[in-house]
């Protein structure tokens, strides 16, 4: 079966972002960009499904700027067979991305679509669920375990109280949580091979998708800073402060 893995180019998780002086957004000039960590887990899961003989082909797709080709090449080096970039320089909302992915799903007809549960820039946690709504597929969000058997997939999900397992008919949508797997590193020979793998570039117009949005970001500000308090010298002093100064115990 064919698996579609979806990835997003985001600011690297090690970068401490700064808000721009004009409050129009965060400053991404000369900042290291990477594949969203949850998306790496999505690609890894697809590769493991192929290694198990469950998946026959892995198509990796990204919606983003021209430079997102770097992250698609990374995914190809990790084991994806071919890549699709739906190129858009705009900052698209989750719904717009889900509509574009729906067009790719219609074109590619995968049995399983794997996405990260959220991107670490916008922190929306929406795209997978929205794609599931648009395609009418079942959704296994925040997955910590994925098992394909016949025409169904069992997904163990991380929920507030612990774990929940659901069974979904294929085709289905899966979004990854942290503990689903530990992504591998790409080897040098695979990075070289990835350069020769096919990468198709499409546009929202060519897919006939409108990316209009009902959300508008008015401003982006730095959070209120929390100032460091004091160091206490002993447990006794700590207890005294908590009782008499902070009055919390």
């Amino acid at each position: 079966m064919k698996v579609l893995a979806c990835i997003k180019r985001v600011v690297d998780y090690n970068v401490k972002v700064r808000v721009k002086a004009d409050n129009s957004g965060v400053d991404l000039a000369n900042v290291k960009m990477s594949m969203n960590p949850f998306c790496e887990i999505a690609v890894e899961e697809a590769v493991r499904l192929k290694e198990k003989g469950v998946a026959t082909e892995i198509v990796v797709v990204s919606i983003g700027p021209t430079t997102a080709q770097e992250q698609l090449r990374t995914a190809l080096a990790l084991g994806a067979d071919r890549a699709i970039l739906v190129e858009s320089a705009e900052d698209l909302t989750s719904l717009a991305v889900a509509k574009l992915l729906k067009a790719v799903v219609d074109k590619e007809q995968p049995q399983l679509v794997i996405l990260g549960k959220q991107a670490i820039d916008s922190d929306n946690n929406q795209t997978g669920q929205m794609l599931a709504a648009l395609t009418g597929f079942g959704q296994g969000t925040f997955a910590s375990k994925v098992e394909v058997a016949g025409d169904k997939v069992a997904v163990t999900r991380e929920v507030d109280g612990g774990a929940q397992t659901v069974s979904l008919k294929l085709p289905a949508i899966i979004t990854t949580d942290l503990r689903l797997n530990e992504p591998r590193y790409a080897s040098l020979p695979n990075i070289m091979k990835a350069k020769k793998k096919p990468l198709e570039v499409l546009t929202p117009d060519a897919l006939g998708v409108s990316t209009a949005s009902t959300n508008k970001t008015l401003k982006v500000e730095a959070p209120a800073a929390r100032s460091a308090g004091i160091k206490v010298k002993s447990v006794a002093e700590l207890v005294e402060k908590l009782k008499n100064e902070a009055k919390v115990i």
């Binding site: 670490i120 929205m130 929920v159 659901v166 009902t214 160091k231 447990v235 006794a236």
Partner: protein
């Protein structure tokens, strides 16, 4: 304006996060209706009708909504919600699972995890793991929003007397089924609702050592949390994780033990009223947000603290 709030519950009891979500709805203004969807949820519906400020409770009691599978509940919410000005749900794993599916069905963008209401169409929400706060305006005819519970003080669970109305609509997509669940059992308060939280990090060294924190927590009536490092190392189960990718907490007192204070973790607890950090590394970033820092070996300091209070 009439606002539809989706009740958060486990089939038996109403979850406290619902009260924070109703509080957010009250800030927006207008009549508040609450939808309770599930199976055998009479008790939840009764509790919901008593929430202060709720005008009407809609009850969709059907086998198709048991375990609140999003494939079945989202079409219900989209159908009912189309006539409302706003649809709100708590940003719990359940709310996050269902609401984007509702938004896409209504062809509107969602605003995730709001922490304040600026006006009826404008809200603030954290982005980049809480390192920036975005002010977002929605022009959608129905504004679909998840609410971060720690941003809003809960409304009173008692005092209301809402009308209860049954909803007949049944949506059964047939694409998904519930197999089972493994829920952690604990006598301690729930992490996101606790007034005091004691959390342990990699410095705890192993799962057994968390007993130190359980003892301290029981004396304080506290919930016990953990950093992602402690969860990833297998010391404790994942539902104890506090952080951007785990639970977001804002208790009166947060005691971080053996936690270095990665951005990931700070994003989940930095809105706590008072933060105490106990760590033997005086350079640990956690001290930059702590009101009271104690540079000490936790294996000595924690038992001493437990004795002293």
């Amino acid at each position: 304006m009439t606002i539809l709030v989706i009740a958060e519950h486990d089939g038996k009891a109403l979850a406290p996060a619902t009260l924070n979500t109703v509080a957010a709805a009250a800030k927006i203004g207008g009549d508040i209706h609450v939808l309770v969807a599930g199976q055998g949820i009479g008790a939840v519906a009764e509790a919901t009708a008593q929430i202060a400020g709720v005008a009407k409770v809609l009850v969709a009691d059907n086998a198709a909504y048991a375990h609140q599978l999003p494939e079945n509940v989202a079409p219900l919410v989209a159908e009912l919600g189309a006539g409302y000005s706003h649809i709100l749900a708590a940003a719990t794993s359940n709310g996050k699972n269902i609401l984007p599916r509702v938004a896409a069905q209504l062809d509107v963008d969602q605003i995730s995890e709001i922490i304040s209401v600026v006006s009826a169409d404008t809200f603030t929400r954290p982005i980049y793991a809480g390192n920036a706060i975005a002010t977002v305006q929605s022009t959608a005819p129905v504004k679909v929003i998840t609410v971060r519970a720690t941003g809003f003080d809960p409304v009173a669970a008692q005092g209301g007397s809402a009308a209860v109305e049954a909803v007949a609509a049944v949506h059964d997509a047939g694409t998904s089924s519930f197999v089972g669940e493994e829920l952690a059992k604990s006598d301690r308060p729930e992490l996101t609702a606790a007034k005091v939280v004691v959390s342990g990090g990699r410095g705890m060294q192993n799962g057994d050592n968390f007993k130190l924190l359980y003892t301290l927590a029981d004396k304080l009536g506290a919930a016990v949390g953990a950093s992602r490092a402690a969860v990833d190392a297998g010391f404790v189960p994942n539902d104890m994780q506090v952080g951007q990718t785990g639970k977001i907490v804002a208790p009166q007192l947060y005691i971080a033990v053996g936690i270095s204070g990665a951005i990931q973790h700070l994003a989940g607890m930095k809105d706590s009223k008072v933060i105490v950090a106990i760590n033997k590394d005086e350079e640990a970033p956690i001290f930059q947000v702590a009101d009271y820092g104690l540079v000490a070996d936790l294996f000595e300091a924690v038992p001493e603290l437990e004795q002293a209070i």
